[in-house]
């Protein structure tokens, strides 16, 4: 691709033209037709944050009930529903949709230097499907039909014999909704990263956050089918009498656990890798230097993605597996330490050799280092079978995975929010309130969850709704519950800060942090077309490494929503693709799919009859409309026969 000499041109009102081309329809129905990635990304973040707040309220109720022995704030049945919906909400409706979908959908196209995400209508569809899945789970809880067999709904407890009614069916279909959503986004994000990167952003120059999003997308593609298969088997066992998990006629309950954890462990990395992606993005910005050890970090990220698929059995050490396989999975689980520690060392080296600016997002990064390290260390302990047996199903496990998940996802999330909210809203968050938020949350978190290690070692089992005073667990439980008050106060301070800053905050400008990735090359918030001038890239930190006269891309049509497609390895321009515009059909399709899925809870014919409107909606979606400009083929014979 030749680069022409500098030219001077003054194209008239290009921004207005681009706004017309890429703008989304206004008004009530316009909301349902919007297919721009920034809008959908914001929706994912807002919705999943609301689910986070709701899940937090449930956590508060759990801690209220456990605050003292023989408390009767909630009974055992409601307690079961609350901890199940709490876990399911935090994993399926908050952590993945926030960390992978929300941040990914909003940021990936911007960091790639693209004007929209690949397959924007599929992306919009994924949001509605996710929303319905969340409403289904919570609607069930409000109608006293909340899932109640734990966030992983093990059989036989969740099976037809022990859970009558519709509680487990609602859980199983909620899984289908959220996983279809994550899979759709995985396709959009992987395609955007591999085919829509700005020219010059070769794989070797791709920002680490894109490597991580790509790894997660591929992990989603291989992991999510497992949970869809297993939740469908559960649903079929419950609704049409299949016998997958019925041991009396050849079924096997451990099949459920194998399939579930084949998804479930990669899921941990699907939640945690976006966290490290944020850390790897923020550390160089606030250390004012390129990241140390780009290649080891990228290798570690990809290795974590792979290794994540080889450790699922460590969730099943207490099920009586052969000793050989326990040893293998112990070794595999311990191996995960290597790539994670490599990343830690690279971050430390970057900070050590940089000029550290201890700004608010960086405070949360240090919070992550501390909390996640503790979670990682208790993970190393749990990888060993004897210790795992000892503390299996106790509060030690609860402490461990909250350190890993809150450490690995929530602390980086807040770091990321304080970092990118100026980009999302155009205004800075208040630094002072942000620090109050941090300390309240940090102290509260450690108070709540560090005490749980001791409760676990003293034998307090998970998922019990109360305990007797003779167990002497009361004081630690009370301390743990007090911690929740601090965390709640912290989150409230965040909300106040957000709404205040959104209105009165200092204007952020395009690049308030002096960061190097391409999302900072455009105004905050970005215009409907993302970039007025499509960038090219000269290094791993596009803005830091740009030449003074870094070329821009010219020759992309601006009267239609056209995007450049580049090849996967070298991001050489290949062709120009006309992107789909706003459409109501993704929304209508999501309604049709939702009807089919929810109907199938009540009757197996739901899928059969429900397939008819789904088919109609899909044809409506895919049917070409309007007049596209004359296509331009790369086959000269074709140009002749077709246009001639």
């Amino acid at each position: 691709m030749a680069i022409s000499e500098p030219i001077i041109a003054a194209p008239a009102h290009r921004d207005q033209q681009l706004s017309r081309t890429w703008g989304q329809p206004p008004g009530f129905w316009g909301w349902f037709k919007n297919v721009h990635h920034t809008a959908i990304g914001i929706r994912y973040m807002v919705t999943s944050f609301i689910f986070f707040l709701l899940g937090g309220v449930l956590a508060g109720i759990l801690r209220w009930q456990l605050a003292r022995p023989e408390n009767n704030a909630v009974g055992p049945d409601l307690y079961n529903q609350i901890f199940t919906v709490h876990g399911s909400t935090m994993i399926f409706l908050f952590a993945v949709p926030m960390m992978f979908q929300g941040f990914g959908v909003y940021l990936v196209p911007l960091i790639c230097g693209a004007r929209n995400i690949a397959f924007p209508r599929l992306n919009a569809f994924s949001y509605y499907i996710y929303l319905v899945g969340g409403l289904l789970l919570w609607g069930g809880l409000l109608l006293n039909t909340g899932a109640d067999a734990g966030w992983f709904s093990y059989v036989p407890l969740s099976g037809p014999e022990f859970t009558a009614g519709k509680r487990s069916d609602i859980w199983a279909q909620m899984i289908t909704f959220t996983e279809v959503s994550a899979l759709a986004v995985a396709i959009c994000i992987a395609t955007t990263i591999l085919r829509h990167r700005a020219p010059g952003m070769t794989l070797n120059r791709m920002p680490i956050i894109l490597w991580e999003k790509l790894t997660i997308a591929i992990a989603v593609i291989f992991a999510m089918p497992a949970v869809m298969v297993v939740s469908s088997m559960l649903l079929m066992d419950r609704t049409i009498n299949t016998q997958f998990f019925n041991p009396s006629v050849g079924g096997d309950v451990l099949l459920y656990q194998h399939l579930f954890w084949f998804f479930g462990h990669p899921e941990v990395y699907i939640i945690f890798l976006p966290g490290t992606a944020i850390i790897s993005t923020l550390v160089p910005v606030f250390s004012r230097r390129h990241i140390f050890g780009y290649v080891p970090i990228v290798t570690s990220v990809v290795a974590t993605g792979f290794l994540g698929f080889s450790v699922w059995v460590h969730h099943m050490f207490a099920t009586g597996l052969p000793q050989m396989s326990e040893s293998f999975f112990t070794a595999a689980s311990l191996m995960i330490v290597i790539p994670t520690a490599t990343q830690f060392y690279c971050w430390m080296a970057t900070i050590w050799h940089g000029r550290l600016q201890f700004k608010l997002p960086m405070l949360w990064v240090f919070g992550f280092f501390f909390v996640f390290l503790i979670g990682g260390l208790s993970g190393v302990m749990l990888a060993s079978v004897p210790l795992d047996w000892q503390v299996h199903d106790t509060f030690f496990i609860v402490a461990h995975f909250h350190y890993v998940l809150i450490g690995g996802a929530l602390f980086p999330m807040f770091a990321g929010l304080y970092f990118w909210i100026p980009k999302f809203t155009g205004r800075m968050m208040d630094d002072h309130l942000g620090r109050i938020h941090f300390w309240l949350f940090f102290v509260g978190f450690n108070l709540t969850f560090f005490t749980m290690h001791f409760l676990g070692l003293r034998g307090m089992p998970r998922r019990v709704y109360t305990y007797t005073p003779e167990m002497h667990w009361g004081t630690l439980n009370l301390l743990s519950s007090v911690g929740v008050l601090f965390m709640t106060a912290g989150v409230l301070v965040f909300l106040v800060n957000f709404f205040r800053s959104k209105r009165y905050g200092k204007l952020a400008g395009a690049d308030p942090w002096g960061a190097g990735t391409l999302e900072w090359a455009t105004s905050s918030p970005p215009p409907a077309y993302n970039f007025l001038e499509l960038p090219t890239v000269n290094g791993r930190e596009a803005l830091w490494d740009a030449e003074p006269n870094q070329p821009i891309v010219g020759g992309i049509r601006e009267d239609i929503p056209e995007m450049l497609v580049t090849n996967s390895l070298d991001s050489e321009p290949q062709y120009k693709e006309e992107m789909p515009g706003p459409s109501i059909w993704p929304f209508l399709t999501s309604i049709a799919v939702s009807i089919a899925f929810i109907w199938s809870i009540f009757s197996p014919w739901g899928i059969a009859y429900g397939a008819i409107p789904v088919t109609i909606a899909l044809i409506g979606w895919l049917w070409p409309r309007g007049k596209s400009p004359t296509p331009r083929y790369d086959n000269p014979r074709m140009e002749k026969s077709w246009n001639g």
Binding site: I7, P225, D252, E577
Partner: protein
């Protein structure tokens, strides 16, 4: 205020607006989609063999599925690759007539596949509620039938588009991609057939 453009331009105005094969983004997404679906098949097949290890007799105290419908359908599936390939080759040439004929033939093959599949269901010699073996067999063949029907509807839709003036540009690329997906349906059909009909007899 109009802004002056003073930077060198990487001029992409000469690039095509349609790409066939691997360059096409939808081709790429289709590969990812087939990976998802392929993982699902792999997991259901793995479950089938896992359940087999839990049973002394396989199939448990019943006859394996009758062979001939399965074999007949596999043969029809393999033959259907011919029209799929013809459509795929005609697409980048823009040969609209050949595309229509090939897609019509492909849809006809799919109808035959679905009819034989109906007979297959009657000759499985088990019901999904009998035991775990029956559940696994029905799940496998059911999963594949879902794909067969989806692909049939997709082929019909593209066939309908090919009779309008919209069959140009990226729609032509879609014809080629549809054939890729058909190959996936054929390959999974042969594998599912081998698991259900073959392994019960051979292994």
């Amino acid at each position: 205020m109009e802004r002056l453009r003073e930077r060198p331009i990487l001029d992409v105005s000469g690039l095509p607006s349609v790409a066939f094969g691997r360059a096409n983004t939808t081709w790429f997404a289709n590969v990812l989609y087939m990976t998802i679906e392929g993982t699902m098949f792999a997991l259901v097949i793995a479950s089938y063999f896992y359940l087999r290890t839990r049973s002394q007799d396989w199939p448990p105290y019943q006859l394996p599925p009758s062979l001939w419908y399965g074999v007949a359908n596999a043969v029809v599936f393999l033959l259907s690759v011919i029209p799929a390939r013809i459509a795929q080759r005609a697409a980048p040439e823009g040969d609209r007539r050949q595309i229509r004929i090939a897609l019509l033939a492909l849809a006809a093959f799919a109808v035959v596949n679905m009819v034989i599949r109906g007979f297959e269901f009657t000759a499985l010699n088990c019901r999904w509620y009998d035991n775990a073996y029956g559940s696994a067999v029905w799940a496998l063949i059911g999963l594949h039938t879902g794909h067969l029907i989806t692909e049939f509807v997709e082929t019909l839709t593209i066939l309908a588009i090919s009779f309008t003036d919209k069959m140009e540009g990226t729609r032509l690329a879609d014809v080629a991609i549809n054939s890729d997906y058909w190959y996936f349906v054929v390959i999974t059909a042969v594998i599912v057939d081998f698991v259900i009909y073959g392994t019960t007899r051979l292994l």
